[in-house]
């Protein structure tokens, strides 16, 4: 079997290893349907590549180090990124690259091509699942084509494919990927047609935009839409958007351009042309024996079909299946720019306003019934903002990923997360707060009398001589950031102000300061090195992408602080409720959630349910020795674990301890300068624990299942941030004890 074949050879030899997309194209060409000039690379080329380079075993190791069941989708994304980097860093063996180069050069020369995935098994789920694998537009030159072939291969293990791994039957031993290389047809109008609408069996749907199809597919450009009656072929309806933009080929890839005014007033297709598109779809439906989802473009040579595949629904209609949502997080650059504008100029100012409005209405004066209403109203407000957070803020984090991809594709770094260094040093609110803390710690460190006075005041001495300068700083800090004693972690637990803060400052002052990684010069060099890879308009775009990623990175942290301020106001109301219920001698109040507190305030006979505690079997007991998570900050640290279960665990945090928590909240990161390492249950490179650890250069492991139950405060642990492993080396009660 040859590794690279033309469409006519695919048809005449009936080979099965070129994937569904190639087969369909070959069939269409055979029937005289105009399709682009195409070559197919068989999946044997993929197999030869991963076998001869040892990639198969490396992928296997990456995908089996942790159980999928224990992985969050962010970790799947990270795994996928690491695998993608393996493909980027591993060149094709010379004989393979030669076998592919000659026919590609002969056929395409220096013409622009599209490099698309063609997953094997024409009727398999893979053939009909749209958007799981990558395709690249406007690729030029043999080197670049071969590199993009590797990237298409890598996309067999994309985050989307990993999400649908069961439906796809994804298996390192058997899964393969074929590739379509086709001349780029520069149509001036493009679109998709469903020969039968997924929503109405009696109709067909056409969607069309000016320019290239990608703008429609990724949702950046709003299309015109026609509904066509299948029985009569008549247009039933035409919906026109306000047309403003189009996607056009750019130096390397595609870019969004403003639509000329004369076009914005005219639909991309006339009624006749819409009919021609519909007729073509019906022809393909007949040819392939079922309703088709067809991508097409209309250029000077008329209508060309880019691909056709059976219409099948993604298997995610089960309630609670959020995979479709995860996939919606993959946004284009232009889409993210729009989102940024909305977040910066609309959402964040509104959040701040909302928090201020609530802060101005202390609940103490309300009657019980009013307080119950207020709790419910605040809960609703908070829920609404949590929804906004998921729908707008989280997708915006994709800006970081998009930049990471561009950076890795261009620079091929050894560390797939090297790009994160270009994002650090943004003005995150939590870093600013930590700097303010350090300034006060310096005052204590330099003034033995002040230190003495603070210790005396902690012991309850009201006459302790605390300098005015320090008091002013302290008040200023509390005014800006709060006293940290009643943070917004939802624990609802508070210590008497400002003892907690003073205790923390004394602890900080007792040790040399931990510095943020000051590497401004490196950063400038890195930035120039990155930008120097681009020229002309591409350089401008590369700079914009970096800027977007930096904003995205900064917001990853800040959005939580703003949301935290709103949540804090809900908690204030709930606390007031609990206080009043406490006066009625109701016990177990800590267990009640906001709506239960509201209900209890209205019901004088309220009694909380008390759940019985589980009894353990104690002739044998299990202990974790080594836990596997994700490497999220390089380095190795040894130290005493401090497991954060409540606010008091934060307040008593000591210098040299390892921060172990379920989910680092930016509102808890004030202890990070005291920590030697960070361990978090949630996984992923972009979670707060990983980000803040990176800012301070601390070893960090994320995605450690059950971290807070398997590790106890006081355990001696080793954080291996290179391999993503936690070793519990010793326990205070000394069973299986090993000295560090």
């Amino acid at each position: 079997m040859r590794l690279i074949v033309s469409l006519s050879e695919v048809k005449s030899r009936g080979t099965s290893s070129v994937g569904g997309k190639c087969h369909t194209l070959a069939e269409m060409e055979h029937r005289g349907v105009p399709v682009p000039n195409t070559l197919c690379i068989s999946d044997r080329a993929y197999e030869r590549y991963i076998a001869s380079t040892g990639l198969r075993e490396r992928i296997l190791l990456e995908l089996t180090r942790k159980s999928f069941a224990d992985m969050r989708w962010e970790e799947l994304w990270d795994s996928s990124l690491r695998i993608r980097n393996m493909f980027l860093k591993t060149p094709m063996p010379e004989d393979l690259s030669k076998t592919l180069s000659d026919p590609l050069r002969e056929r395409f020369g220096s013409k622009a091509v599209a490099v698309r995935s063609s997953a094997p098994g024409e009727d398999s789920a893979q053939a009909s699942f749209a958007g799981l694998h990558e395709s690249f537009m406007n690729v030029r030159g043999i080197e670049s084509i071969l590199e993009h072939v590797r990237l298409v291969w890598a996309s067999l293990w994309s985050d989307a494919a990993l999400l649908y791994r069961r439906d796809l039957g994804l298996d390192v031993a058997t899964s393969t990927m074929a590739v379509v290389v086709q001349e780029l047809v520069e149509g001036n109008r493009s679109g998709v047609v469903f020969s039968r609408s997924p929503n109405d069996e009696s109709q067909a749907v056409i969607e069309s935009v000016y320019g290239l199809n990608q703008g429609l597919v990724d949702g950046t450009v709003e299309p015109d839409r026609w509904m066509i009656d299948r029985a009569s072929g008549e247009i039933v309806s035409h919906t026109a958007p306000s047309r403003a933009q189009m996607l056009v080929p750019a130096a390397d890839g595609v870019r969004l351009a403003p639509l000329p005014e004369r076009l914005s007033l005219r639909p991309p297709l006339s009624a006749e042309e819409a009919n021609a598109v519909y007729q073509r779809a019906r022809q393909l439906e007949e040819l392939f024996g079922g309703p088709q989802d067809v991508e097409w473009t209309w250029g000077d040579d008329g209508l060309t079909v880019l691909q056709s595949r059976p219409i099948t629904a993604l298997g995610d209609r089960e309630p609670g299946d959020e995979r479709r949502w995860y996939l919606s997080l993959r946004r284009s650059f232009d889409n993210l720019q729009m989102l940024r504008d909305k977040i910066e100029n609309e959402l964040i100012p509104r959040m701040i306003e909302q928090a201020k409005a609530l802060e101005g209405q202390p609940p103490a004066r309300l009657s019980d019934a009013e307080l119950a209403d207020e709790i419910r109203s605040r809960q609703e407000i908070h829920n609404r903002w949590v929804d906004v957070y998921w729908e707008e803020f989280i997708p915006f984090a994709h800006g970081i990923r998009l930049f990471g991809q561009v950076y890795n594709d261009t620079l091929h770094p050894d560390d797939p997360y090297a790009f994160m260094d270009l994002l650090t040093g943004t003005e995150m609110a939590s870093l600013e707060r930590n700097r303010a803390l350090e300034e006060m710690a310096v005052m204590i460190r330099e003034d033995a009398h002040l230190e003495q006075a603070l210790r005396e005041s902690l012991k309850g001495d009201p006459h302790a001589k605390i300098t005015n300068r320090f008091r002013e700083q302290l008040d200023l800090f509390i005014g800006r950031f709060g006293d940290l004693s009643c943070a917004m972690t939802g624990s609802g637990e508070c210590e008497r102000m400002p003892d907690a803060l003073i205790r923390l400052l004394l602890e900080m002052a007792d040790h040399p300061p931990t510095k943020e990684r000051a590497r401004q010069r490196d950063l400038d060099a890195m930035r120039s090195h990155y930008l120097d890879q681009f020229a002309g308009p591409a350089r401008e775009r590369a700079a914009q992408m970096l800027d977007l990623a930096r904003t995205s990175y900064q917001l990853r942290d800040d959005d939580n602080i703003y949301l935290g301020r709103i949540e804090a106001q809900l908690l204030v109301a709930v606390e007031e409720g609990r206080r009043r219920l406490g006066a009625r001698s109701i016990t177990g109040l800590g267990e009640l959630d906001a709506s239960q507190v509201a209900a209890a305030l209205e019901d004088p006979h309220f009694k909380p349910e008390i759940r019985p505690k589980e009894r353990g079997d104690d002739d044998m007991f299990v202990r974790a020795r080594q836990l596997v998570g994700q490497p999220a900050g390089p380095g190795v640290a040894k130290g005493r674990a401090r497991v954060i279960l409540s606010q008091s665990d934060l307040i008593t945090f000591q210098h040299g301890e390892v921060l172990v928590c379920d989910a680092v909240d930016p509102n808890m990161t004030f202890v990070v300068p005291l920590a030697v390492g960070v361990v978090e249950r949630r996984g992923g490179m972009l979670i707060h624990g990983a980000i803040i650890a990176r800012e301070y250069g601390l070893p960090c492991v994320t995605g450690v299942p059950d971290a807070v139950s398997l590790i106890s405060t006081g355990d001696s642990i080793v954080v291996d941030g290179y391999l993503g492993i936690i070793t519990i080396a010793g326990r205070p009660d000394s069973v299986g004890h090993t000295e560090l």
Binding site: G616, M620, R623
Partner: protein
């Protein structure tokens, strides 16, 4: 299921499939020494059974120092072993069994290894019961869980 139950279950499943364990003993001068041994495990996972000839080096080692380590694993000699195979290290103390207890324990040993009946019942062989102190279970290359038995 609790961690303890899932861990015990994983151990039971492994022990049901595997017949052989690597036994480590210590020679008089401190030199470690290993052998491949047929083993059986008690239902409560608190002890393991081994049989050895009395003239062997391991018999001498066990008689002088009863502390042992055993390794039981599910490798299949493929590249995939590195992540698919499970390995259990057992730490404990091996004591020779005699009297009526021997007869009872021998029956359960032979139930697992019927073809070793003659060997195990031979007067020249000794039956050892390993009182387990801890199991160290390794999965997915680097995930390590300990199961400790209260003594």
């Amino acid at each position: 299921m609790s961690d303890r139950e899932t861990t015990s279950l994983a151990l039971r499943e492994l022990f049901a499939r595997q017949r052989l364990a690597v036994l480590a003993t210590r020679e008089e001068d401190g030199q470690p020494y290993t052998n491949l041994m047929a083993f059986a495990v008690s239902d409560d996972l608190r002890s393991l059974l081994l049989v050895t000839g009395r003239a062997t080096r391991k018999y001498a080692n066990l008689s002088a120092d009863p502390r042992v380590a055993l390794l039981i694993d599910s490798r299949s000699h493929q590249a995939s072993d590195i992540h698919d195979a499970m390995a259990v290290t057992v730490l404990g103390e091996a004591l020779e069994v005699s009297g009526s207890a021997k007869e009872r324990l021998l029956t359960s040993y032979v139930a697992k290894h019927p073809h070793l009946k003659d060997f195990a019942s031979s007067p020249s062989c000794a039956l050892f019961q390993v009182k387990v102190r801890s199991y160290y279970l390794v999965r997915r290359f680097q995930e390590v869980t300990e199961l400790h038995v209260r003594q």
